[in-house]
């Protein structure tokens, strides 16, 4: 098959939705709304995350929804702030009303220092939410066994972490992500810790179906330019994966013929 055709047919399907872009983005930590919208547009992302909070009665928050909807982005509410399965289910049900979507990024991280996901509560909540008809995308540690349990529970994808949220440390969990990718029958989205476009490219070369990036774009010197860089890296990494990477070897393997023509002319 011609590569152009391969790329055209290379759609990512999650639940009932098909995506052309494999870069998902978050809306947090941007300095202002205008920069956020410009950066998200530059990313060509079709799925963007949002959070939910109790309304502050004293202030009116910026309306960030309208520009996202106007630009055709699908919204993925998260359950950030939930400390256990019960709170996460409540948050997901609120988010469904607020954003009129049954998609949810399930995240339960009770410890604010490392924000590591609680596997036991996450699995419990995933089962409950899948039974209630939600399209569940759980944020989890790069744990292959847990990811299989989540798949069996009816999750639409899994979102294992590369490194702690917002740490920009890159893929510290590579060996385990490889096992997750090898075993999964649902899309694997590498989430959290991706700090530079090369990290995102590496995840895609490894065979991840998509990546989710927020902090690395939002806090960059120029978020719009960084967003575009991530988009290119994700495309390059995906293309490399589809093209089939060459194997590695310890010993050198010559790229040029080792004929001794220089010696011959002496």
């Amino acid at each position: 098959m011609l590569f152009d055709e391969m790329k055209k047919n290379d759609q990512l399907i999650i639940g009932d939705k098909s995506f052309s872009s494999r870069l998902f983005t978050g809306t947090g930590k941007f300095n202002d709304q205008q920069t956020m919208v410009a950066a998200l547009k530059a990313s060509q992302s079709e799925l963007v995350t949002m959070a939910l909070k109790r309304v502050d009665m004293q202030h009116r928050d910026d309306d960030i929804l309208a520009p996202l909807i106007k630009n055709g982005m699908k919204l993925l509410p998260n359950t950030s702030g939930a400390r256990n399965a019960k709170e996460a289910v409540f948050a997901a049900e609120l988010a469904r009303e607020a954003l009129q979507t049954n998609w949810v990024k399930l995240e339960i991280h009770p410890d604010p220092k490392y924000l590591l996901p609680d596997p036991i509560e996450t699995l419990k909540a995933a089962e409950m939410l899948a039974n209630k008809g939600f399209i569940v995308l759980p944020y989890v540690h790069a744990d292959p066994v847990l990811c299989k349990h989540l798949e069996a529970a009816g999750c639409a994808a899994v979102m294992p972490l590369g490194a702690p949220i917002g740490s920009n440390k890159g893929i510290k969990t590579a060996d385990f992500l490889e096992i997750i990718i090898e075993q999964a029958n649902i899309p694997v989205i590498v989430d959290a810790g991706l700090g530079s476009p090369s990290h995102a490219a590496l995840a895609m070369e490894m065979g991840a179906d998509a990546v989710l990036v927020n902090t690395a774009i939002a806090v960059a010197g120029n978020p719009v330019a960084m967003s575009e860089a991530f988009a290119k890296a994700v495309q390059a990494g995906r293309q490399a994966y589809l093209a089939g990477l060459g194997g590695q070897s310890t010993q050198a393997i010559a790229s040029s013929p080792l004929t001794a023509f220089l010696e011959a002319s002496l």
Binding site: K29, T49, M57, I64, A66, E97, A98
Partner: protein
């Protein structure tokens, strides 16, 4: 009548519904979710859910996040 909205006590007219409450509070209808005494009220029932004295209203709103 008195109701609680996110821990704040409000004095409101009788027979006010959820939609009217949000307008009264100048809160956006899009991107909001409402629970009355811990029960989430579906958007399609905002106009016909009348609030009562002593109700505990929780208001939530979509915000930026990762």
């Amino acid at each position: 009548m008195k109701i609680h909205v996110n821990e704040q006590v409000l004095e409101l007219a009788e027979n006010i519904n959820i939609e009217q409450l949000l307008v009264h509070l100048d809160k956006p209808l899009i991107g909001s979710a409402v629970a009355v005494n811990q029960d989430i009220i579906s958007r399609s029932h905002w106009a016909d859910t009348i609030l009562n004295e002593g109700d505990n209203i929780s208001l939530f709103q979509a915000i930026a996040g990762g």
